[in-house]
Symmetry: C2
Subunit: 547 residues, 2 copies
């Protein structure tokens, strides 16, 4: 990890500063004769309430960023290489009936059987992105029969940002729950930035290799070639990148379909390939060279994230001919990748009004034979720059419910500037909300436990538990304290919104108490028309709030 | 507007500080021999781009809050009183075939015919909340065949806040687009606070009168009575309140259905009535006295907002028996109100996971014969206190698409504390997003114009226009300037995210330019396979970015 200028990313804050009364636990699971240790975060609650264990993306804590994270998967990969036929992809093993350590590990995180995970990967309905050169990775799954995942984009540009900041953003994104990150860096430090990120990332890292390829030809798009591109892939695969966005579906004949659009081509990668096609009047070299790309990727187990270079950039352009033509081609490429046992997910839009969202999901499932969908938003309106984490969380939650496996976050800075740390957090939280709302709507096993635990804490005025069970305890506590700062207010049996007199939760307690102390259920009390009981209640329980 | 301590709400900032290059226009519309002047906000754009006129809720500008707003409707109401039969409701006129000034005015805001408005009100499918004692009101419509509206709750509590702050919040909420406001004040200054709000509100004002009734009996719920309640209604109707939330559907027999819930009764009004029912072992006096309430309300044209006192307070309690039992009763009460020609809307939940949202809408339309639905959120998950403007904007957008007429905002402080000015704005903007996304999904006439204008500005690098067309120009500009502060950056043909080299929008321009300069459409160029043209392009257009 050498480079010219010294890079010293700050050591991240202790986990407990962000999540009070949480600590990481390691769940032991069997894998053949071995035992794997799988991380969860345990949230301790007050009194008799049992602790709640939640999925954890934060990775090993307390490591020096200059050392990187411990290489968890190193022994598994070393062992596997001994009998490898040159294809190291999880799909390759899955199809031969082999349950890898990665599958067992990820199955434990999801609470399902390793065999189910194997079958989903073999079928192509889930991917387990895990480059063999990224041993620091904690294996995870992307597929619609698992928890909905989210991705955070980070990366510097020629205009702004440094390596230190990007490593810090990585740590910040996974702190709040990002399941993968994409390094979208451009500019001169691209290789070094990526190295720092990979060595410190417990989550899969994706990139868009065409950006670096373009740097290598000083931005002259027409000088791009398959050879240069493969060389770039090799460089990044060697570093350990887990998935590549590759815009192989931007075909020459689709480019003119975008000329009539309100906002043309808005994908960076898509526009680069479109311009290359026009300049050469030849078919996209990523399409014509797709088999060669597959051959490279299976040696490392890099997964495809087939890019939607022609995604709509505005409501006006949603679900148009260009977009769906490309999607068909992505389906064709999926079948080719699967012939090589290379894992595939499919990128999706973009800007789509609510009533057109489901069509995207349905067409994707059909065209791409249920390969996992990975969507950016979609944004459900164009009128709110500065709030596109919200315009898009709406679309993301819906498409997640419909079946999208991973949601690429959008920050408040979308369309306006590069996200800073606050924007990264705001984007991640908005997307954790969307993903969790989707898990609930899908009836995902266990998803509602956290909602129920939090609502129960709320109802019982366990303020600290309510904060600590939330996605962002710091903010919940801070907002509470703005209105009622005293410590005593956090044990009060009322809240700042209504004051003691109007507290509906307190009244419900009274209703229950009434039923309990009378030795009858409230239903019976009412059905039998026991007026005398209500008179007793008047005498003893007339005050809502008893200090 | 006399009271003991002097109240001097600050004069609000000039509209143009929030909306640069906007100014208010008055559109003249004919009403019989008269002409009405209906406000819109005109957004001026750069160069040849035509200005965009948008719906405007901000009311007359530059008034002294101590004087209140001018009484726009005063002459209309005075004239109408001359031949009144004692029922002044818009529904009463609509059903007799009369198009009122209010209907003409609101029709112009919506871009529909006054006759259509009349027919919708007569049918009960829309309401035009407009107390004859609130002449400052600018008439507007709530109904699912019109633009989706939003409501902002303000109001002090015993614990916090002052009259000045509440008037400021009103002005702030309508600045950012709130279509109605509800004054949920409790505590001692309740009458004076409401008076200040009404005299300064160009939008309908709603209240929950049971709160004030409870103040009158010093919080002793069991001492509430129909007489006291009617007295309170009269007091508030005289002040000019436009709609009352009345929890007449909380029946005695429904209360025990909530005992098994995770979070019991969470509506303040609902819990007060539930406790009253238990204490007296009698039916809810709002239900038994409903006809008397109707008789009072039609004299002022106060609209019902039939409260959902048994709405679910958590995901676990969504769509349960208690909730839907109450909804059936609200349908029964709607029919009674309509017999009196009293306008009605129906309040809805609450906390509902995405897959259960549509059932709420479908049942409401059926049970309440298409009376407008007015929902709080719904929140689609319980796990994100501090971000419930987002958890609920997801549900609000969806239910708006399905047919809800007005969305009650939820602020980031929900469940935690009272909203301050920033929270009010955050809540309003999140809900403007939800409402607009719903309008787009419903294919509402003209809704997409603003999206298209903004996306075109974005694509053409008209940064100022992009900011000014957005829901919140200040924030959009501020976010842009964080990355690229120089003034020159706002005329630059690239943005801070990608820098000049990677700008996809610039590349699309090149694609179009290519087609244009060659005198052929891009399609023809490609279909005819004119390789020489692509060679020319290479020579002349190789650089993406020409300064």
């Amino acid at each position: 990890m050498s480079q010219e200028t010294p890079v010293v990313p700050p050591t991240p804050r202790a986990l407990e500063e962000s999540f009070p009364r949480s600590h990481k636990i390691q769940v032991e699971v069997e894998h053949g004769a071995a035992r794997l240790r799988v991380p969860m975060r345990r949230i301790h609650l007050d009194g008799d309430a049992p602790p709640l264990d939640v999925y954890d993306t934060t990775g090993p804590q307390g490591c020096d960023p200059r050392e990187g994270l411990p290489p968890l998967r190193e022994p598994w990969i070393r062992e596997r290489r001994k009998s490898s036929d040159g294809n190291l992809s999880q799909m390759h093993y899955a199809r031969r009936g082999v349950v890898t350590e990665e599958m067992t590990y990820a199955a434990a995180r999801e609470g399902v059987s390793p065999e189910f995970v194997r079958a989903e990967i073999a079928r192509g309905r889930a991917i387990l992105p895990a480059n063999v050169k990224h041993p620091e990775l904690e294996p995870m799954l992307i597929g619609r029969n698992f928890l909905v995942k989210i991705n955070a984009n980070i990366g510097n540009s020629a205009v702004s940002s440094s390596i230190e900041e990007e490593v810090e953003k990585l740590q910040w994104a996974i702190r709040w729950g990002s399941d993968t990150i994409m390094d979208l860096s451009t500019g001169s430090d691209i290789h070094a930035t990526r190295e720092w990120i990979l060595r410190n990332s417990p989550v899969p890292v994706g990139t868009v290799p065409i950006y670096q390829a373009l740097e290598k030809v000083d931005g002259r798009i027409e000088e791009l070639s398959l050879e240069l591109f493969l060389e770039t892939l090799e460089e990044q695969a060697e570093q350990g990148v887990d998935y590549f966005t590759i815009h192989a579906g931007v075909l020459l004949r689709y480019v003119p379909l975008t000329a009539k659009r309100l906002t043309g081509i808005v994908s960076r990668g898509g526009s680069i390939l479109a311009k290359w096609c026009l300049a050469h009047h030849e078919e996209n070299f990523l399409y014509t060279g797709f088999e060669e790309i597959c051959k490279l990727m299976k040696r490392y187990d890099v997964s495809f994230s087939l890019g939607d270079g022609l995604r709509p950039g505005s409501i006006a352009d949603a679900n148009d001919e260009a977009q769906f033509a490309e999607l068909e081609t992505l389906g064709e490429l999926t079948r080719i990748a699967w012939e090589h046992d290379v894992q595939v997910m499919i990128e999706g839009p973009g800007h789509v009004p609510m009533h057109l969202i489901k069509e995207n999901m349905d067409k994707q499932l059909e065209a791409c034979q249920e390969a996992p969908f990975y969507t950016l938003g979609p944004l459900t309106t164009d009128v709110a720059p500065g709030y596109d984490h919200i315009t898009s969380a709406i679309g993301a939650a819906m498409i997640g419910w419909y079946g999208t496996a991973m949601l690429c976050y959008v920050t408040p800075k979308e369309h306006l500037g590069l996200p800073n740390k606050k924007d990264v957090k705001d984007g991640v939280i908005a997307y954790k909300i969307a993903a969790h709302a989707a898990d609930l709507a899908k009836g995902h096993r266990g998803a509602q436990e956290r909602d129920d635990a939090l609502s129960k804490a709320r109802f019982e005025f366990r303020w600290e538990d309510q904060f600590n069970l939330s996605l962002d305890p710091e903010t919940a506590r801070e907002f509470h304290d703005e209105t009622l700062p005293a410590e005593g207010a956090k044990t009060a049996h009322f809240c700042s919104m209504c004051g003691p007199q109007f507290c509906s939760m307190k009244i419900t307690e009274d209703v229950r108490e009434y039923a309990r102390t009378k030795g009858v259920t409230a239903e019976e009390a009412l059905e039998e028309g026991m007026r005398e009981k209500s008179e007793e209640f008047l005498e003893t329980g007339g005050e809502v709030y008893r200090p």
